[in-house]
């Protein structure tokens, strides 16, 4: 465990020394929040749009911003760089549990995720967005977005360990975009066309988005919140098993 924490601290230092990457991780999702809200706010006025529960359209879009930001982690790219540069082998030649080499990066992604998600939500508050589920809801919101970031970074690490190639890792990152847009990202699921509704229902990211959205728009609604955490837990277990398997069999 101490090796995991030591390597996690190193990964955090690594992230802090790339402030431009950290800035872009927040800038692009916030840019989409502003653009999407600007385009659709007139179509969905808060006083006559029931699914907004009295808030502006920005509140409805905030979960997408959080999910996008959580999916822009650099951990896998730093990992590939380390593999290509040879430092990864140096770590492999040390008497530390191999899993600590992948878990250390995920610990750092978690710490980064808490910071980035909190900043985005706090930036949204002055623009009239409120967290209807209260302080506990705020914590759950940050926790869920952060856990998703860790799970996603973990899957990208698997791609990095498998391909050992920066271009492949970059391409792998694009997988998220279809998943993000096969969701009720602009309107609730029941307002989607039938084919889109089926696709969204099959897409696990939908439940994550709906959980985040419920935390922003309504009081604590466990019927919406728990499926989101269940998705993260299920995918998290798969991600951890794949990471540990990849690092144990890395040759």
């Amino acid at each position: 465990m101490s090796a995991t924490i030591a390597l996690g601290k190193r990964s955090l230092r690594e992230a802090l020394r790339q402030p431009d990457a950290l800035f872009m991780t927040m800038f692009i999702p916030i840019f989409f929040l502003i653009v999407n809200t600007g385009q659709a706010a007139e179509i969905f006025p808060s006083d006559s749009t029931e699914f907004l529960r009295g808030q502006g359209y920005g509140a409805f879009q905030l979960p997408i911003t959080l999910l996008l930001a959580a999916s822009f982690g650099m951990a896998s790219l730093f990992l590939v760089e380390e593999i290509e540069g040879g430092y990864f082998d140096k770590l492999r030649a040390m008497p530390i549990p191999r899993y600590s080499m992948v878990l250390g990066r995920l610990v750092a992604e978690g710490a980064k995720g808490i910071f980035i998600s909190s900043v985005i939500v706090l930036l949204a508050l002055p623009f009239g967005i409120t967290i209807a589920s209260g302080p506990l809801g705020f914590i759950l919101l940050i926790l869920l977005a952060t856990l998703w970031g860790v799970v996603y970074a973990g899957f990208m690490q698997v791609v990095a360990l498998k391909t050992r190639n920066a271009a492949a890792v970059n391409s792998g990152g694009l997988i998220f975009f279809p998943l993000l847009f096969l969701t009720p990202n602009f309107v609730p699921r029941e307002m989607l066309t039938r084919p889109m509704e089926i696709a969204a229902t099959l897409n696990p990211v939908t439940y994550l988005m709906e959980a985040l959205r419920s935390l922003i728009l309504t009081d604590l609604d466990w019927g919406a919140i728990l499926p989101g955490f269940a998705v993260v837990a299920g995918l998290g277990v798969i991600m951890l098993l794949l990471n540990v398997r990849m690092i144990q069999t890395y040759d």
Binding site: E14, R17, G85, F88, D89, K90, A93, P95
Partner: protein
């Protein structure tokens, strides 16, 4: 504590195959080695001969297809973590974390080898002085010159005072002054009782540093002995002609100076 009765490194019938999409590459085809504690052992060979693959198997970085290897009496495949506690590794590329400072990197390595924070900080300072990098200690390693990176890499491999130090082409790409610094460092480390397993393409380096050496070609050991014995053996075969280690290498690997010269002419044409 080093047990001088146990060989520092022993390999028996070491084999490594890489499965490609169409065929299998036999990188190492049955290497036998025995290196005594306290030796500087040179491992020479042309590019692609199997040097680095052998080192990577001995240092637990690569699985062994067949055969057996022990480091300080511990089976590499059975107990890799125990082997890792006893070895230091500086691979062909000076693998450093480009976003950490030299000091941070050495302290992290100390922590990963089980030192507490105070001990890791103390050891870091000792090593920085040893490799003369105190002035650059708080700069990120990305800005280090090739020689500085090599010296830091060497220091990182020494954090835990290993019993066996594996150096894979430690001077490749270095200028003559940096190369001499690394040589001095290798001698000094060995003087403290550390066994050194050194791969190199520079025959002069092997001649200067190594107590004993082996030449590998096409995945098999083709010569083994002290530099003096190998030269004497070839000289006797050639009827008393004076020979260098270059001649031994060319003879062992089936290459000749004439053939090498011919290849240069072909390129020039």
């Amino acid at each position: 504590m080093t047990d001088h009765r146990v060989p520092a490194v022993r390999a028996e019938g070491l084999v490594k195959h890489f499965d490609g999409k169409e065929d299998t590459v036999e990188a190492v085809r049955g290497v036998d080695l025995e290196i005594q504690s306290g030796e500087i052992f040179g491992f020479l060979g042309p590019n692609g001969a199997g040097k680095s693959t052998t080192v990577r198997m001995l240092t637990t970085l690569l699985s062994i297809t067949a055969g057996r290897a022990e480091v300080t009496g511990i089976d590499v495949a059975q107990d890799p973590e125990a082997v890792r506690r006893r070895i230091g590794v500086a691979l062909q590329e000076a693998g450093l974390d480009p976003r950490q400072t030299g000091r941070e990197l050495l302290t992290l390595h100390g922590r990963l080898f089980g030192l507490d924070q105070a001990a890791a900080v103390k050891r870091t300072q000792e090593l920085l002085e040893l490799v003369e990098l105190e002035d650059a200690a708080d700069r990120v390693t990305k800005g280090y010159s090739g020689g500085m990176q090599r010296r830091l890499d060497l220091a990182a491999a020494l954090v835990h005072e290993p019993e066996v130090l594996f150096l894979d082409e430690p001077t490749t790409g270095l200028d003559p002054a940096s190369r001499l610094t690394v040589w001095e460092e290798v001698r000094r480390i060995n003087g403290h009782g550390t066994t050194v397993f050194l791969t190199t393409q520079y025959l002069e380096e092997a001649d200067q540093l190594c107590d004993r050496l082996a030449i590998i070609d096409d995945g098999r050991i083709v010569r083994e002995g002290t530099p003096a014995n190998l030269k004497t053996e070839l000289s006797e075969r050639l009827g008393g002609t004076e020979v260098t280690l270059d001649d031994v290498f060319l003879d062992a690997t089936g290459r000749s100076r004439d053939r090498a010269a011919g290849e240069v002419q072909e390129v020039g044409a």
